[in-house]
């Protein structure tokens, strides 16, 4: 009976870990849609930028590092600006959120 209780406890802990560990702790790709609240870019030659988005689900703020040239160019010429809604995928690398996909949701 005691052994059964231990096994049950271990199972419960494992299940809880699976369910309740925040997605950001995983190395997997995380998806969200949110509105840009801030863009930080150091200048026209910048090779990286950070963007902060307010998650449509829950309203939490997520800051991501953006390295891809196409998106950086859109920051620089203001095709993407604060207030735009973005479909975002990112990964957590060394504790930082790195954008893998950064697209405006709006069309014409």
């Amino acid at each position: 009976m005691k052994r059964f209780a231990v096994v049950f406890l271990l199972f419960a802990v494992a299940l809880a870990a699976t369910v309740f560990v925040p997605a950001s702790a995983s190395a997997d790709e995380i998806k969200m849609i949110g509105v840009i609240t801030k863009i930080d870019i150091s200048g026209p030659d910048a090779a990286t930028a950070t963007a902060t988005l307010k998650d449509n689900k829950g309203g939490g703020l997520v800051t991501v590092i953006v390295n891809d040239e196409l998106t950086l160019d859109k920051f620089k010429d203001h095709r993407i600006v604060v207030g735009d809604e973005i479909r975002l995928k990112y990964e957590v690398k060394d504790g930082k959120n790195v954008s893998k996909y950064f697209r405006k949701t709006a069309g014409c």
Partner: protein
């Protein structure tokens, strides 16, 4: 084909490995040379612009530069959003067609019924916004699609296509003192001093987000990762090379308007582009795109009868979307003429028609309202459904604009075959077994082959020895 996705090979090595290509090495050489000049050499007129500022086309035409260009541009598809169309069924003779007036289910609106405007306030948030199909028109909206005369000439936004330093914060719609909706432009000296041949981004500002979002309509990204020509450093206008602002296009069954000039793979690549004679034999009846563009992307279906509310309170047509290279094409015979019915827009052609080749198409299905009485597809003004989700109010608004008094809206689907001429690859091009295995990508039955022919066409006898040899070489 000469091009390759793989980095590191010299041009000569590529040419040697892949057979002859008309003008291609020369073109690439010139691109490299002119490209470096373009970077090094500034556009003439710098001193004039610095002294006098930039005031639109009048500045471009000052001092004898680009004379008559603005007037000429007003006659192009980019300004008119329409042209005579000679290869599509069921059109009114003598009438011009294009996004100005077409009704089909990728957009369901057009420049007329979905003219740029401020939409009604969202009942929940009270907010409004500007939207319209002609948002991308390179005028100021006061002088709009197809307008003519001096005001129209002066309204042309040359820099949105020609400047590398355009500030898109300035290209936003707003209401002027008279309450008219105006599209802003960046006419700053900074933008004017960085003019030149349009880069990829200049074209993609509009062409990337057409149809309701990034990569929705065409479904291709012209990047070094997704297209072998982009990987070579080529830009859109290297193939779509304009003369007098008339821009060559292909024969996409769903892209009707053209400036009367065409572009094709054969403009650069030889008629027998492969070293392998068997591959060259295919060229007679199989389009280059069929093997070299094995995937498509973008929206695969949309429902204009059911709009989805976003977190900002506004509604958008419910859309199933994929990334570039995520969807499989449909293959069909195509002789560059087009079936156009309310439920199908796509290629005409057949195996027996010697003008036809097998082409790949992006298949798209759109749901919208049809008129039960006439069977015709109805159009939609997006302003009402965008604000409230009321799609029938959008149909009513469009009908009013078009002078349609009686109609009976009923939902239905339309199938559209889009041309697929980007996302070109060598590395991932289809090989023998991709088509000739029994589970290959070509539906030979649908393409008009007999059961006996299909048995032969899908037998390894066709390609076994060749592939076995190649396998030895590869390993």
């Amino acid at each position: 084909m000469l091009t390759t996705d793989g980095p590191g090979k010299s041009l000569r090595a590529r040419a040697k490995g892949e057979g002859s290509v008309k003008r291609y090495p020369i073109v690439l050489f010139l691109l490299a040379v002119t490209g470096s000049f373009a970077l090094a050499k500034e556009h003439p007129g710098k001193a004039y612009i610095e002294k006098n500022g930039y005031h639109g086309p009048s500045t471009c035409e000052a001092q004898g530069c680009h004379p008559g260009t603005a007037k000429m541009f007003l006659g192009t598809v980019h300004w008119k959003h329409a042209s005579p169309v000679g290869n599509v069924d069921n059109l009114t003779p003598g009438k011009e067609y294009g996004m100005k007036n077409r009704i089909y289910t990728m957009c369901n609106g057009n420049d007329i019924v979905n003219n740029l405007k401020e939409i009604p306030p969202n009942p929940k948030t009270g907010k409004t916004k500007f939207t319209g199909c002609n948002t991308c028109h390179p005028g100021n909206h006061i002088s709009d699609v197809g307008s003519t005369g001096k005001d129209a000439e002066n309204a042309i936004d040359c820099l949105v296509c020609h400047s590398l330093s355009y500030d898109f914060r300035l290209r936003q719609p707003y209401k002027d003192a008279a309450g008219r909706v105006v599209m802003g432009q960046d006419r700053s000296v900074k933008a004017a001093l960085s003019v030149g041949k349009p880069g990829v981004k200049n074209c993609m500002v509009c062409h990337e987000a057409a149809g309701g979002g990034v990569l929705i309509k065409r479904g291709f990204a012209f990047t070094k990762e997704t297209d072998v020509h982009a990987a070579k450093g080529m830009v859109c206008v290297d193939c779509h090379a304009a003369k007098d602002h008339r821009i060559p296009t292909g024969f996409d069954p769903n892209n009707w308007a053209s400036d009367g000039v065409r572009v094709s793979c054969g403009d650069c690549h030889e008629a027998s582009p492969h070293q392998d004679k068997d591959l060259n034999r295919h060229v007679a009846r199989v389009a280059c795109q069929t093997c070299h563009i094995p995937k498509t992307g973008g929206a695969l279906a949309k429902d204009f009868t059911r709009w989805t509310q976003g977190p900002d309170g506004f509604f958008e047509p419910t859309t199933l979307r994929k990334e570039a290279n995520e969807t499989a094409p449909v293959y069909a015979w195509y002789n560059k003429t087009v079936t156009n019915t309310p439920t199908f827009i796509g290629p005409k052609g057949s195996r027996g028609d010697k003008e036809s080749k097998i082409y790949p198409f992006k298949m798209y299905e759109g749901k919208a309202y049809f008129d039960r009485k006439t069977g015709k597809l109805l159009s939609m003004d997006f302003a009402p459904p965008m604000a409230t989700g009321d799609t029938l109010a959008g149909v009513a608004s469009a009908a009013k604009t078009l002078g349609i008094q009686e109609y009976d809206p009923v939902p239905g689907w339309q199938v559209i075959y889009f041309g697929s001429s980007h996302l070109v690859t060598k590395k991932r091009a289809l090989s023998c077994e991709n088509c000739h295995a029994p589970n290959g990508v070509l539906n030979f039955r649908a393409l008009g082959y007999t059961e006996e022919e299909i048995r032969k066409l899908t037998s390894p006898e066709l390609y076994f020895d060749k592939m076995a040899e190649k396998q030895k070489e590869d390993w």
